[in-house]
Amino acid sequence: MSENFLNKKIREMERVNKKGDIFSFFFNRTKKYDEKVKAFLEILNYKEAIPYGLKDNILCIGAKTTCGSQLLKNYNSTYDATVVENLRKYGFEPLGKTNMDEFAMGSSTENSSFFPTRNPWNTERIPGGSSGGSAAAVASGLVPFALGSDTGGSIRLPAAMCGIVGYKPSYGLVSRYGLVAFGSSLDQIGPFTRCIEDTHSVIKMIASKDEKDSTSENFEIKDLATTDLKKIRIAIPREMVDYEGLDEGVKESFYLFVEELEKNGVKINYVNIPSLKYVIATYYLIAPGEASSNLSRFDGVRYGKRNDKSNYEDMVNLFRDSGFGIEVKRRILLGTFTLSSAYYDAYYRKALKVRRIIKKEIDKIFENNDFIINPTSPVIAPYLNQITDPLTYYLMDYYTISANLIGAPAISLPIKRVENMPVGLHIMSKRFMDNELLSFANRIQNLSPSFKNGFFELPDGGEKYV
């Protein structure tokens, strides 16, 4: 077993607590407190292991993998995802499968077909999504860390809203084998943690060049290095801070933190990235296109309940119509349309082209800057059922989507709170500059007023476990 930071702390905690084994400790906490936030869809009991939360779109033998969908509510994982195997080598087993927006489509976890997860800071509010269950589990201290998946911000947004660290690694760093695909060219697995050291520990364990995933890359996660802030140059896109949907409180918190960075010698450059205005359109052409294809395996022949329609076409239609939720159907229809031969050139092909242009423009920014920062979300966590218009949620992705489109790593960490709700800082670097990004984030985390005693604070009432 590797003696990484996370392990050391857990061992120490085990010694201090003397409450039996570590798994039981978190297992009992989860049994007691999950009712409040409803982070888990299924709780497992491995004992003899160090627990973590696993988003329910990542396969693990012995557990179901429902993707938050009625359609897969009885689907037992048929194999282990590579990340699950990797963590097992270090003695980790999932404590449970965490709730999510159905097939990771959504930003609130309200689209789970089972029940919505609640924000530990205020249970009337959403935790963000789509990996809301994982975020809420970590922010409630139910697990030391959790894995989520991020296609357009699904790790970073809930991390920001729940006041913890969320990291989407460079595309290709972590194997996607065993992650139920949403947008295959955008999806990436990453951790939710309560400090950057833990983020670093987890990514070190899960990152691997996997022969089962042709898009995975050989990349070495190095030890966290000391970052000299005086040498750091940071870009802030004007399009993002001047965005009309940006909440005043969030904006203020962001600028306060920027000031703090400047005080510490960081050089701030305000830049223009004109193509940013196309990121949402581009994303909502590419991701649903890929999703419409990825989800076509759910045709009622092998998964879910077989209906008794006498003909194949009716059987498929009834199954998909009654099985998928409204948001999933909306995206499948959108994707099917944009991929259709008559519209492919006008939409999908054009989106691929714009994606390349966005990458070019952002790469240019990185020629003179180490990182691009912005608020992770334009708003603090909304109340449950507050937002009914899907477009409002789509626009929320504005701050996170470009990292997926260009395959870059990005991390969200808590800065100040507004209305006692966490606000996240989003830091993005060039693809495969993950080591530099983590080192920088590690250096600045203690500049955040929410960072106390080596961890980002848990909400009031959240039982401290260290």
């Binding site: 084998y177 089962k212 294809s293 076509s296 395996r297 991929l339 259709s340 031969s341």
Partner: protein, 482 residues
């Protein structure tokens, strides 16, 4: 005058050890259903494809043998459609950028004329599973269906020709030539009956007087070389009939129905699926280096047509024989071995074309593991040269030699297979025959020379076929003309 235009789309199962995108065995023919499967080929959620390098090499072999240009960068795409035998809901194929394009294959058409059939493209894709419908051949009329996913992910190369074939016979000849090539290359077993090689055709007919071209019809389900010709012949006639009536056929897909020996409509082209092709995000682009192309090029064996031309040249055997012998590598190699060792190419060819091929076909002779050898033929030829056995007897001797795994000379010794050269005995038998049938003698004398066969036959009967036919002939002739 009507001119037929045919283009083919061929799917060939690639003989790699494992499937195209996972490590399940690729040889699934008649294996227990749903035993050669894994999360990848059954499309379990979260499973990802990984391209099999061997499939790439085999596709390149095929492409180079078909004189294609190799795309140094090609890519994979998804072809989306719903069908129960397609567990992912899409097939991984190469739509936008195939691994190879712009090739050709030279064939000898039904008149022995050289003809170049252009290859538009060759690409890698995966096979679907297999459905067995209960109560009907077709899914909508069956009461239920069994699904075998073993074949899912079996690698295929799809070869698309230009519409360069001008008759059903030519289409068949092309398919056979393609099969011979793919077999020699070890790319595909070429077995159409087992579905290892499949072919769809597009056919149209031009009325040259009216300068009118018919709609194009796609014909499917032609699962043998013979049916390629038969189905296309049927279709050609059907189109010509319509044109003669001043009508045209529908732009549609038709299926060859074997028991009825006709094609029937499957669906109109307007009702075809929109396959929503888009780049496969799970597979990076496929790069092929110049070095790799050179290595594979250098490893290509002599192709059947080159071999045929060489056989004609080198062994001075008829074109037909050369064509048959060169179409199968095992047979071709065996022929060359025997021809060179015995230094009698013409007879070697005759024996292999006749007896050996008959035994392979009728008696399932396994050439590689049989007792047949160049030494055996050398021995057999010697026995015939020395007039110890006749060529007729040689066939029986060969049978025994293979059955008992002994050289012909040993068989001859043991079984007393010696040719009867005993002129006294032969003369005696003929004398008897003359006495018994004076009428035949008269007929012979009046000019009906072929009556001699009666007397030769009599000798053969008495000697149980062991008399040397030449000797018998000579003696009988002499005696009858006395």
């Amino acid at each position: 005058m009507f001119r037929t235009i045919i283009g083919l789309e061929i799917h060939a199962q690639v003989m790699s050890k494992t499937k195209a995108f996972c490590s399940c065995p690729a040889d699934v023919f008649e294996k227990k259903p749903n035993t050669l499967i894994c999360p990848v080929c059954t499309g379990q959620p979260g499973a990802l494809p990984v391209l099999n390098e061997e499939v790439v090499c085999l596709a390149l072999k095929g492409a180079l043998a078909l004189n294609c240009e190799i795309n140094k960068k090609s890519s994979f795409d998804r072809k989306n459609y719903f069908y129960p035998d397609l567990p992912k809901g899409y097939q991984i194929t190469q739509f936008f950028k195939p691994i190879a394009e712009n090739g050709f294959l030279i064939i000898d058409d039904q008149n022995g004329k050289e003809k170049k059939i252009r290859i538009r493209r060759l690409h890698i894709e995966e096979d679907a599973g297999k459905l067995l419908h209960i109560g009907s051949e077709n899914i909508s009329e069956s009461t239920g269906s069994y699904l075998d996913l073993n074949r899912c992910g079996v690698p295929l190369i799809e070869i698309v020709t230009e519409p360069d074939m001008s008759s059903p016979e030519e289409a068949k000849i092309f398919m056979e030539a393609l099969r011979d090539n793919l077999k020699v290359l070890n790319v595909c077993s070429g077995d159409m009956e087992k579905g290892a090689l499949r072919c769809d055709a597009n056919i149209s007919v031009v009325d040259e007087e009216k300068n009118y071209s018919s709609n194009r019809v796609e014909v499917k389900n032609m699962n043998s070389f013979k049916f390629v010709e038969k189905a296309l012949f049927y279709e050609k006639e059907r189109i010509i009939d319509e044109l003669k009536k001043g009508h045209d056929v529908k732009f549609e897909t038709r299926s060859w129905v074997m028991p009825d020996k006709k094609t029937v409509s499957m669906r109109s082209k307007e009702k075809e699926n929109d396959y929503r092709y888009f780049p496969e995000p799970d597979l990076p682009p496929l790069f092929v280096s110049d070095e790799k192309i050179e290595i594979i090029k250098a490893s290509l064996p002599e192709l059947p047509r080159d071999k045929k031309l060489r056989f004609i040249e080198e062994y001075n055997i008829p074109e037909y024989d050369a064509g048959v012998l060169s179409s199968d590598l095992l047979i071709a190699n065996f022929f060359e071995e025997v021809a060179k060792y015995t230094n009698r190419p013409k007879e070697s060819s005759n024996w292999i074309m006749g007896e050996v091929l008959r035994m392979i076909k009728e008696e399932n002779l396994d050439l590689e593991n049989s007792f047949l050898s160049k030494e055996l033929f050398q021995d057999l030829f010697k026995l015939m040269d020395g007039k110890i056995i006749s060529s007729k007897m040689a066939k029986d001797v060969l049978d025994y030699a293979l059955k008992e795994k002994k050289l012909p000379s040993v068989i001859v010794e043991e079984k007393g297979f010696k040719q009867v050269e005993d002129t006294e005995l032969i003369t005696k038998i003929i004398q008897e025959a003359i006495k018994k049938n004076q009428k035949a003698v008269d007929q012979y004398k009046s000019g009906k020379k072929n009556v001699i066969g009666y007397f030769v036959g009599a000798v053969m009967k008495e000697t149980k076929g062991k008399a040397n036919p030449e000797t018998v002939n000579e003696i009988a002739k002499e005696m009858l003309e006395k």
